[in-house]
């Protein structure tokens, strides 16, 4: 019996194999469980390809979307439309990259509790968007295709970003031959993914480059005869502006004056500054990467280079990228990146808390200040302060000629010069016509809503 008892150890050997095998698994578990839990397709986190847990609210706690179960959207149809491009739809036609990006934080994985959350609801994401402002922007944009966005140039919070056309995810439209064009680019988030010919809002960039490069730029004067010839081709204005200072030329949006300015600046320098300002750079935030803009003036003929400095030629900007540039001007030459997701909380514990991402200095403080004052002058003398009661708005409109017999893109970019309302904005309306005529009423409503909501 003693011998048998000794040999009984073989059973312990099997037990040891089990323990070693399971210890190996535990090692893997503690190294990788955080990844396993939120692996794409994880049933606790995703519902199909969309994130399937958690609650999304606006900055004031207004429900935008409850992802758990069968996706419950806001009860307000207007708000559902205004935010569909951020929170996604039911069919996955419109994705929600910012929410998916924080799947892990939403799910709130931790070693102790896994993905457990009280009641199984997952986390609550607070977006920086304001439901009120979104709704106002939706109302203002409902007739148009395009985008309007406002962000806080000191913190980076996106207060408003509406892209149209959009639709109610609880009542998706029938798209067929009867309504061609009505839903063109329906699923695209124009704010982050579209590219627009900027037109005259690009003059802010050219002006900034000139102010940086040419020390006496402010003292220069320009003569506009209605057209200006470079290498046999004419740059034209819609009217004859006559003799103007730089400030007046900017306010008149005088193409002839800006063609001369590009000549003085040199196209290569302009190219360098455009790149330095980050105007055409991609913006990355919350798992979103915006479309990259385009500027080819530096290698074009002098004539084309002049048009590129006026925001035509092959220029393309992304609204978000341009918004960040205008924000940097507003903030004194050193901007911040926008962001959408403010914080995510699971069972009272913050699993994500946004931090302001500061950019590099792209232009000097004095240039930023002069730019601001010129843009302020535009509003005071041209667009009308009455459109912005109680706000010191600085802006530049643009009319991006798209050719092909289409109406031009109406563009607007600017900011509010106010400690209390540090907002930069961009508006783009496709087939909109004149920038000032279309965009000013839109931003007027949106800024009023911003002021009200804060």
């Amino acid at each position: 019996m003693n011998r048998i008892a000794g040999r009984a150890g073989i059973t312990m050997l099997i037990a040891v194999v089990l323990l070693i095998g399971f210890a190996f698994f535990l090692g893997e578990y503690f190294m990788q469980a955080d990844e396993w839990a939120v692996f794409p397709g994880s049933p606790h986190v995703y519902n199909g390809s969309n994130i399937g847990c958690g609650v999304t609210t606006d900055r004031d706690g207004v429900l935008l979307l409850d992802l758990s179960g069968d996706r419950t959207y806001s009860a307000d149809a207007l708000l559902r439309k205004a935010t569909v491009h951020w929170v996604g739809d039911r069919r996955g036609s419109v994705s929600a990259p910012a929410l998916s990006h924080y799947a892990a934080e939403f799910a709130g994985y931790n070693v102790l509790s896994g993905l457990y959350s009280y009641g199984g609801t997952g986390g609550t994401a607070k977006l920086t968007l304001s439901a009120k402002v979104q709704a106002a922007a939706q109302e203002a944009m409902k007739k148009y295709r395009g985008t309007v966005a406002v962000y806080n140039y000191k913190t980076g919070e996106l207060l408003c970003a509406v892209t149209t056309p959009n639709y109610d995810p609880d009542n998706p439209p029938q798209i067929d031959e009867s309504n061609p064009g009505e839903y063109e680019g329906l699923y695209v988030n124009r704010f982050t993914q579209s590219l627009y010919i900027p037109g005259s809002i690009f003059k802010i960039v050219t002006l900034a480059a000139a102010l940086e490069k040419l020390p006496d730029a402010e003292q220069m004067s320009f003569r506009c005869e209605g057209s200006y010839t470079i290498g046999g081709d004419a740059i034209t204005c819609e009217s004859v502006h006559g003799k103007q200072s730089l400030k007046e030329a900017f306010c008149n949006s005088c193409n002839c004056a800006f063609a001369q300015l590009v000549e003085m600046l040199g196209k290569e320098n302009l190219q360098r500054y455009v790149e330095q300002f980050g105007v055409i750079e991609q913006v990355r935030f919350d798992g979103i990467t915006t479309a990259a803009g385009k500027f080819e003036g530096g290698t074009a003929s002098n004539y084309h280079a002049a048009w590129s400095g006026i925001g035509q030629y092959t220029d393309q900007i992304n609204p978000c990228g341009f918004l960040r540039f205008v924000g940097a001007v507003a903030a004194g030459g050193k901007g911040v990146d926008p962001y959408l997701v403010d914080s995510i909380t699971v069972d009272g514990i913050k699993t994500y808390d946004a931090k302001t991402v500061k950019g590099d200095r792209i232009l000097s403080e004095s240039t930023a200040q002069i730019l601001g004052s010129y843009m302020r002058n535009n509003v005071q003398t041209k667009y009308g302060d009455k459109n912005f009661p109680g706000l010191h708005v600085c802006a530049k409109t643009g009319t991006g000629e798209v050719g092909g017999g289409k109406k031009p893109n109406a563009m607007l970019a600017g900011f509010v010069e106010d400690e209390q309302y540090p907002y930069a904005f961009v508006v783009a309306v496709e087939d909109g016509g004149y920038g000032a005529k279309v965009c000013i009423p839109i931003i007027s409503r949106v800024l009023a809503a911003c002021k009200e909501s804060v």
Binding site: R3, I4, I10, T11, F24, A33, A37, G114
Partner: protein
């Protein structure tokens, strides 16, 4: 009234949420307390030898005979060491029988065994018989009834009824809490089966304890562990297939019947030895019947469908196999018996190969290795190796195409998360989602995956009860095995020790294949987790194997499958 309760609950999911929030902390704590209380006596009991006789040497020394089977020899590892040059290393075996009689068997010694001067091969001993081993003369003096009573009083008792009662109370609390967690979900259609499932287990465990108290057995740790795992298994069923709770309850009942029957068969060693033949025939018969009438499900032809019942007879063969493999010492010492066992194993393996049942073949192979090693030590090593090789060859040739598919995804499950690696990636995702404390009974997602209550039940357990409970479930099986190994030192007969170790090994191998297969440490083989997995045959097999563990428990008043040493002049119970 029930409808009224559910109506309230449906409108107040907050009750469920609060309950789950508390439950996920309480359950692991209860489990931990249970596990500690059950494992401590199993792993730390004092191994006090039982003394059955004295061997009186000419120099007036008296050597205690502490087993029913004792090897006498020169080797230090003999049970009774007679260090004399003329004595062989393992000279002979002294065997006690149930009726208290003794036999001496020559174990192929050089010099032979003489009783009263006559050379014998095997001989029943009468009092006063003079045994001569290598020229050393001795007499055997069985202990008197009075001495036996005294010894029984001196030996420390196994755990008290009170502590067994306490364990079962704890388990009952866990069962109640689990039951409520499921009922709070407010699914009226499943409520009855859930109530029946947990209630049935509770009744069964208390009845068993009551039966033990009646026959003056006090130790209930091994059973508590089994009931604990069974409860977790019922929780898996309640979440995955609540309708099958009743079916599983019947299986548990049959399992308990098998447990008591096998235990009864083992209680009397002579009876047990006689049952070996029956077991051997039954074991092969189960497989042959399956081969002829069986149905192929999921690649293996190991299902027998009789009306509404579907059985896996190969599970029952496991119990038979242990029966056949276990053997008393006097037989172990002769090689012929080992060869018979090898032949039997080859037959079993052949049947399994024809059935394409890779997982079960592996379990039998491991059981075979354990039994062969326990029986032979070195003697049969060669035969062992050859058989092993043949075994592996047959398995490889016959089962390869079926098994290869599983090997293809092994350690590569994340590359095919929606096809080949689906079950295991879901298992890992869900186990990670459950964390250490789990999402709460019925709150997981794993239930949507195929075999969530059987082959990959550990993932469901990990997700809903947490990793801690899963670890404890695995440790509880390890504790059973450790108990068998510890008990071996004070085992009465090698029959019991081999049986217990083989049974524990089978349970362990099943856990290895099931748990490690689910988490992709090993390929998934579709083997059940003892007591935990949904499946009638598997449940019966697990309880049957548990009887072998119980039969090796020689602690005083511990096991119904072990006869008591006479204590305090009481009548021996039967």
């Amino acid at each position: 009234m029930q409808e009224g309760i559910f109506a309230v609950l449906e409108q107040q999911p907050v009750y469920l949420h609060v309950y789950i929030a508390v439950f996920r902390w309480v359950a692991p704590i209860l489990m931990f307390m249970l596990l500690c209380r059950c494992c401590k006596p199993l792993l730390t009991f004092r191994r006090e030898p039982e003394i059955w006789a004295w061997l009186c040497l000419p120099d007036e020394r008296k050597l205690p005979v502490t087993h029913w089977e004792n090897v006498i020899g020169r080797s230090k590892r003999s049970d009774i060491v007679v260090d004399f040059p003329t004595v062989s290393k393992s000279h002979c075996v002294l065997t006690r029988y149930d009726d208290g009689s003794w036999t001496i068997t020559d174990a192929d010694s050089k010099d032979g065994v003489r009783v009263n001067g006559k050379k014998v091969k095997i001989r029943a001993l009468k009092p006063e018989d003079v045994i001569s081993i290598g020229g050393v003369e001795m007499t055997l003096q069985p202990i008197s009834r009075k001495q036996e009573q005294r010894l029984a009083q001196i030996r420390s008792k196994a755990s008290s009824v009170l502590s067994s009662f306490g364990n079962l109370m704890l388990l009952s609390v866990l069962q109640l809490l689990t039951c409520v967690a499921f009922l709070l979900r407010g699914q009226a259609d499943t409520a009855m089966s859930i109530l029946m499932g947990f209630g049935g287990i509770m009744i069964a465990q208390w009845l068993l304890l009551l039966f033990y108290v009646c026959i003056r057995r006090t130790s209930f740790e091994v059973e508590t562990i089994a009931f604990m795992l069974t409860t977790l298994g019922m929780a898996m069923i309640a979440t995955v297939k609540p309708a099958e709770a009743g079916k599983q309850l019947v299986a548990i009942g049959l399992g308990l019947a098998a447990f008591l029957f096998v235990g009864w068969a083992l209680r009397d060693l002579e009876r047990a030895k006689r049952m070996r033949l029956v077991a051997a025939v039954a074991g092969i018969a189960f497989l042959l019947v399956t081969l002829v009438f069986g149905k192929e499900y999921y690649g293996a032809k190991n299902w027998l469908v009789i009306g509404p019942l579907s059985l896996q007879p190969s599970e029952l063969t496991k119990v038979c196999f242990v029966f056949v493999g276990a053997s008393a010492m006097n037989r172990i010492m002769t090689k012929r018996n080992l060869f018979l066992f090898i032949a039997y194993s080859v037959m079993i393996c052949g049947c399994l190969a024809l059935m394409n049942d890779f997982g079960t073949a592996l379990i039998f192979f491991c059981a075979f290795l354990v039994i062969a090693y326990l029986r032979s030590g070195n003697v049969g090593t060669l035969a062992l190796a050859i058989t092993a090789l043949g075994f592996a060859g047959v398995v490889a040739l016959k089962i390869a195409p079926h098994a290869l598919r599983r090997f293809a995804t092994w350690r590569h499950i994340w590359e095919t998360p929606t096809t080949g690696g689906y079950q295991q990636t879901r298992a890992l995702i869900c186990m990670a989602s459950g964390g250490l404390l789990g999402l709460g009974p019925g709150q997981g997602w794993m239930k949507h995956v195929f075999a969530a209550d059987s082959d990959v039940a550990v993932a469901t357990l990990g997700e809903e009860w947490g990793l801690l409970v899963l670890i404890m479930a695995i440790l509880s099986i390890v504790a059973l095995a450790a108990f068998c190994v510890r008990s071996a030192a004070v085992g009465r007969s090698s029959f019991y020790t081999i049986g217990a170790c083989a049974a524990a090994s089978i349970l362990l191998v099943q856990v290895i294949l099931n748990a490690l297969g689910t988490v992709d440490v090993l390929p998934l083989t579709g083997v059940t987790f003892p007591f935990l997995s949904n499946g009638g045959s598997s449940m019966i097999c697990a309880w049957g194997l548990l009887a072998f563990i119980k039969a090796a428990d020689t602690r005083q008043n511990a096991s119904f499958a072990v006869r008591l040493m006479k204590s305090g002049g009481d009548e021996e119970d039967e």
